[in-house]
Amino acid sequence: MRVIKDLYYTNDHEWVRVEGDEAYIGIADYAQDQLGDIVYVELPEVGDEFSKEDAFAAVESVKAAADIYMPLDGTVVAVNEELLDDPALLNEDPYENWIAKIEIADKSQLDELMTGEEYEKFLDEEV
């Protein structure tokens, strides 16, 4: 599975890319591979506030639906609407195709996430 080193990751296979006080959130390669062909994405709305571990989006293959969880407390400032018309983008490149961008409420929560290296180890050992 492909892992990008300079992102943060969760146990549920979400990734976080921090830019200043904001963060892009998406699903890791492992998650898209497990789901198979993604045919539907449900996005949050701009302005929605979430706490860490809230389900904020859903990604579905023909066979299964998976909730996507917030890695951090925050407020949605943008959603990737391209995914609505072409959900398969998440299969093609799950790191390029983010799901939502949030304003981070508490940057110290980043310390609770895995680094790319830690996530690679997690994939090797626990999955």
């Binding site: 198979g36 062909d37 045919v39 539907y40 579905e60 023909v62």
Partner: protein, 365 residues
Amino acid sequence: MVVKKTPLYDEHVKLGGKIVEYAGWFLPVQYEGLIPEHEAVRNAAGLFDVSHMGEIFVKGKDALAYLQYLLTNDIASIENNQIIYTFMCYPDGGVVDDFLVYKYDDEEYLLVVNAANTEKDFKWMIDNKKDFNIIIENQSDQIGEVALQGPKSEEILQKLTDTDLSKIKPFYFDRNVNILGVECLVSRTGYTGEDGFEVYAPKDDIVKVWNGILEAGKEYGIKPCGLGCRDTLRFEAAMPLYGNEISEDITPLEGGLKFFVKFEKEEDFIGKEALKKQWDEGLTRKLVGFELLGRGIPREGYDVYKDGKKIGHVTTGYMSPTLKKSIGNALIDVKEAELGNEVDIMIRNKPVKAKIISRKFLKNK
């Protein structure tokens, strides 16, 4: 429970199948992907391992009389080498199982039953044997089975046998088809809504048949197919799945399958009284098809509402790979079952509008 492997397990692994546990068996849910496999069956051909299915034989002088008593359809209506779809019901009209019955002759029948129900069916059959002069044999462990499905099926299989396959009509079979030196039973049946064959062989020979068909089908674009598209294909073709559209708690009448319940046949059958009563009094709930009007995918188990009141549940739902639409089956209050009626499907606690349509989704294309 020990999870079993079919004789084709090693082939699935070699082909990169994603193995899951299903009905007590390790089987591939997909190889390349559910959608390309689904499309291969609709447009060319696909090959499924269905060796997990159960094969139960009923033999003896009273075989026909026993099956007439045990099953809802009229088994006397078929001739030798013909096949009939039927239910086996409980006295209350709930379904023990649904399956195909293959008639060898008046004194020998083969029942091909759902894998998860094989043991239950066998026991039910023994428990209801009464004084019928028959023997019941579960030969599931000795028989392998593959299903070749799709418009190119006949051309592909014909390359491997001297038997003229065009002579095997839908819902008929031939017990003596030589495929690559293996003596097979071949029936023109399937669970996809496409033309195709189901091929039965001794379990040790099924690998040869499987690989031979895949090789012969290469030029036609055949794909090995997993359980994932088996379900989307049968669903689009309005074929029921035991446990979803019919079950111990959902009668064939509620499932919209009265055609396979023959009240008019001479013999009494288990469940007749209860089913007749249900029919005469009128159904209170009924299986319908629906198309989602809003965004989302309906899934098995989601609730169906009308004007804020729960009226039923989704039995199967998908983003249909053929129609590219979110469609489903739902078992709902008969008063809301009219075509064109609008209802709400609860998706992650949010109501999404849907319209009742015919369950024959492929014909709506």
